[in-house]
């Protein structure tokens, strides 16, 4: 298992390098322009100078190598310096700068990370907590009223896009009932009971939208996996041995059914980081997803490049984690 993990990690390095090159090339080929949003009153020669100040006058390969250096050498060194207070060299090095804000990309990401983890992570957690019991009961009482309703709700939750549910919830709960705010106050500091209540209130709508979506997806998996296992021979054997129904269901069937579900859940974790782009945009949660979408719209290439690459790293990493978990959960699977 250990050598397998090491081997996979080694393979990940060239994979990630290729990914970074492909992302860079794709972004470069895209006809987006960082100056596209500027007023037309800014004349062409000034635009040319702005472009040069962003380093866009350099050839493609140089810009790519520069980004590699900034991302893999300068930024880690910078983090190291901040954590330890030791200055390496003269401490003056070019960081990855966003074009729109002209500030270091990594600082932007650090600033956005907590909100995404809170809102999207919470939604994912709730999604899982709701999905497992719903999936189990639906499978155990297949074709019952509960299953019918559960199937209907999860199908709807899975197929209706979040940009629709989000707006519907805003119209009902913000505009009409006025229970919850439609705009996330990103300046709110939780330091007493009332600010905590306010924080909960503003998280309700985005978390609900995303939890519904996540729960629907995972509940379908749990149900299918439970159904597969319920008809297995070992279940009949367990029952024949006189094991209590509760133990059959929760100890034998559920544990076995969770093996594929855990993989699905692990593979879904990187999507927490990439944020629910649309939901964050609708509720104006200042998370990573919203950062990415504003960067894409403004053709802020360094920011898009860095964010996309970080997501790629997370996906590669969690694929590995899912594989390893699979081996641990299911002793029949051995990689060596």
């Amino acid at each position: 298992m250990f050598t397998y993990t090491i081997r996979r990690l080694m393979f990940a390095v060239p994979t990630l390098l290729v990914i970074s090159f492909v992302i860079f090339a794709l972004l470069d080929l895209a006809p987006n322009d960082p100056l596209g949003d500027l007023p037309l009153t800014i004349p062409p020669e000034v635009r040319e100078q702005i472009r040069a100040s962003m380093g866009l006058d350099q050839p493609f390969l140089i810009r790519y190598l520069l980004w590699l250096k900034q991302f893999f050498i300068n930024e880690p060194l910078n983090i190291f310096e901040q954590m330890t207070g030791i200055t390496v060299g003269d401490g003056e090095r070019m960081r990855v700068l966003s074009w729109a804000t002209r500030s270091p990309v990594v600082d932007l990401i650090v600033q956005r990370m907590p909100q995404t983890l809170w809102v999207v992570g919470m939604a994912y957690l709730f999604g899982v907590l709701i999905a497992i019991p719903v999936g189990v009961i639906s499978a155990y009482r297949q074709y019952s009223i509960f299953d019918q309703i559960g199937t209907f709700v999860t199908m709807v939750g899975y197929s209706v896009p979040t940009f629709f549910t989000g707006v519907v919830l805003i119209v009902i709960f913000s505009s009409y009932l006025q229970w919850f705010p439609s705009i996330y106050d990103t300046n709110l500091v939780v330091n007493d009971w009332s600010s905590f209540v306010q924080q909960v209130k503003q998280m309700v709508l985005p978390v609900t939208v995303l939890a519904l979506y996540n729960a629907s997806q995972i509940a379908r998996f749990v149900r299918a996996s439970m159904l597969d296992n319920l008809s297995q021979d070992y279940v009949r054997t367990a029952r024949a041995k006189g094991v209590k129904e509760k133990a059959v269901l929760l100890v034998h069937v559920l544990r076995n059914s969770l093996i594929p579900v855990v993989t699905v859940i692990a593979l879904g974790v990187p999507t927490i980081f990439s944020g629910a782009i649309i939901t964050e945009q609708i509720f104006r949660v200042n998370g990573l997803g919203q950062l990415l979408i504003t960067a894409v719209q403004g053709a802020d290439i360094p920011l898009v490049q860095t964010l996309t690459f970080i997501f790629a790293v997370l996906i590669v990493l969690f694929n590995l984690i899912a594989d390893v978990l699979y081996g641990i959960l299911d002793p029949r699977i051995r990689y060596d």
């Binding site: 006809p31 596209g36 007023p39 037309l40 062409p44 804000t101 006025q178 200042n286």
Partner: protein
């Protein structure tokens, strides 16, 4: 409460009276007398209008603000948000009139501020103005702002405003002299308007040239002379401002803080002000008129509009965009457009359009039909081309018949093998696509076919010379977009139609003469305009140039577009301004009690 309201009403009445008197001022003595009254009034005001008594002002910009240094961004959202903190020497008020802001008066030839040879202008700074950190605002800061923006490798977005300036010097701490290489007949370019605010030398002195983008903390929190101070800036998200303790008017601003939130979309921003009342002010309501009308019914907010110089137009390509021409496509070398070079076709396309319907469907309060490319200020507005305001399908058909364009079996007109079938492109935007559909239908009625196409705005306006889809390349027969000019003087704007401004591969497609219009007569008018100082004569020449462009069919003007924003009914003092920042007078805003 009642007392206060009455008090306020009285104060307003008094100040209205004073303004009236001011307007009619004739003698110095009255002035002195008035100064006393004003002081007394200011004192009375303190009793109920104090700094920071109205709590938090919540503003929503659906495009989030990326930086607070307008010199590094150039985007409207950055210019507007920065205007709460940093200010120019003079501003345009809501009527487009130049108003002294950090100076005592607007320099003119009469008051000696502008040299007789028009080669220099001298600004007298207001004494006693302080930066928000308490240090004195001096002429050195103004000089530094010029150095900052014109430094090589800085990529300053407002560099064009400093064109033709040879020197900016501090004559004394309160006097700045700007010298020009050539006589400048409209000398109010530099340091005027929200685009070119004064930045503090002490803060930015190590951020000149290539170092400019690296100064993140300065770019995110410029020290200014304005009513508010940046407390916290979260890029692309939210800005928190607090009232400037050193602001020159002790009674202002009424708000203790400002929260400027960004992100989302125009419709939900409108909802947050008009329907849920969560925000006090929202910028740029680009929403279909009927959607806004429903939201307005909640009664929580109102819309405000102001008309600047934006005109939505259809540019006609005077050169041939035929793909067969290869490199010569849409260039002067590639030859004239086979159909659009006929003046009758250009005129017919224009009068076939019903501008009122386009306005009603897509713009509502935020637009009015126009036939001018210079739609404002009033002194420059011509009525010579108003024939285009009335739709005349019959007339257009007749015009084309007379010119020999005969309808074929498919209903499309043709002459000598050239069909009147046009590729009509614009940027992706629901209002524009709606307009395209309407225009296509009207052109159909005069036997003109059109193929509609839309390109993502960041590509269309991006100006990437490698992309075939930019508006500069104009690989289409007609294209639609909006353009405008900064400030109130159209000279630079009208110069965009000069023969030497035609985009071509030789200049990297960088000219601004998008229709590829070229007329030596027109060039002569513009040359004369650049040598004329008298405002009346300037207006006359500008009108002549404007009339020529529409009459000859360089473009088809459609809609004079306004800016539309919304604010809560409880917010008072908003004076919507299309000539400067919308937040230009935020120091005067207050909450109705």
């Amino acid at each position: 409460m009642g007392m206060r309201a009455a008090d306020e009403a009285r104060a307003e009445a008094i100040s209205a009276k004073i303004i009236l008197i001011f307007k009619g001022k004739t003698m110095k003595r009255t002035k002195i007398l008035l100064a006393g009254t004003v002081a007394a009034l200011a004192f009375a005001n303190v009793a109920h209008a104090q700094r920071g008594t109205d709590g938090d002002l919540k503003i929503l910009f659906w495009q989030a603000v990326s930086t607070l240094n307008p010199y590094l961004s150039g985007g409207t959202k950055e210019i507007y948000s920065a205007s709460l903190t940093i200010e120019p020497l003079a501003r345009y008020d809501e009527t487009g009139k130049l108003t002294p802001w950090l100076v005592t008066e607007i320099p003119t030839v009469d008051n000696g501020g502008v040299a007789k040879d028009m080669k220099s202008i001298t600004w007298k700074l207001k004494p006693g103005v302080k930066w928000s950190d308490g240090s004195a605002f001096t002429a050195e800061d103004v000089v530094f702002t010029w150095q900052y923006c014109t430094a090589p490798d800085g990529g300053c977005a407002q560099k064009a405003q400093f064109e033709g300036i040879t020197n900016v010097e501090a004559v004394d701490p309160l006097t700045v002299k700007v010298s020009f290489a050539e006589p400048k007949y409209y000398p109010y370019g530099a340091f005027v308007g929200a685009q070119q605010p004064i930045i503090q030398k002490a803060q930015f002195k190590d951020c000149v040239g290539a170092k400019a983008p690296g100064c993140t903390s300065a770019n995110f929190g410029p020290i200014g002379t304005g009513p508010f101070v940046v407390k916290e800036f979260k890029p692309n998200d939210v800005i928190t401002f607090t009232a400037n303790a050193n602001y020159r008017d002790a009674a202002k601003p009424a708000f203790a803080s400002v929260t400027l939130k960004g992100g989302g979309d125009a419709a939900s921003a409108a909802r947050a002000v008009l329907e849920t009342g969560e925000y006090d002010y929202a910028w740029n309501m680009q929403v279909e008129p009927e959607v806004l009308a429903t939201m307005l019914k909640a009664g929580k907010g109102t819309l405000v509009t102001a008309f600047g110089t934006q005109v939505e137009r259809i540019n006609l390509n005077w050169t041939n965009p035929d793909p067969k021409l290869g490199d010569k496509r849409s260039t002067v070398e590639g030859g004239k457009h086979p159909a659009l070079s006929d003046p009758a076709v250009r005129k017919a396309l224009s009068i076939a359009i019903d501008r009122d319907i386009i306005d009603e469907a897509g713009y509502g309060e935020a637009g009015k039909p126009t036939c001018n490319i210079v739609p404002a200020p009033d002194a420059y507005v011509s009525t010579a081309n108003d024939w285009c305001l009335k739709q005349d399908i019959e007339g257009a058909n007749k015009l084309l018949d007379q010119a020999g364009w005969k309808k074929g079996a498919d209903g499309i007109r043709a002459k000598d093998g050239v069909k009147l079938s046009f590729l009509y492109q614009t940027s992706t935007n629901s209002v524009r696509q709606g307009t395209q559909a309407l225009v296509k239908d009207w052109w159909q009625q005069i036997g003109v076919a059109s193929e509609l196409r839309n390109v993502s705005a960041s590509v269309f306006f991006g100006g990437d010379p490698a992309s075939p889809d930019t508006f500069q390349k104009f690989y289409a027969d007609v294209e639609m977009y909006t353009n405008n000019f900064d400030g109130t003087d159209p000279e630079k704007y009208l110069a965009e139609w000069l023969c030497n401004k035609i985009p071509s591969p030789a200049n990297g497609w960088q000219g601004q003469n998008i229709p590829r219009y070229c007329n030596p007569e027109y060039d002569k008018i513009i040359a004369e305009l650049s040598k004329t100082a008298d405002l009346g004569k300037r207006a006359e020449l500008a009108k002549k140039a404007n009339d020529m462009l529409t009459a000859e069919g360089a473009h088809i003007p459609l809609i004079h577009r306004g800016q539309i924003s919304s604010h809560s009914v409880k917010l008072s003092g908003v004076k919507m301004n299309a000539w400067d920042s919308e937040l230009w007078n935020a120091a005067d805003w207050s909450r109705k009690k």
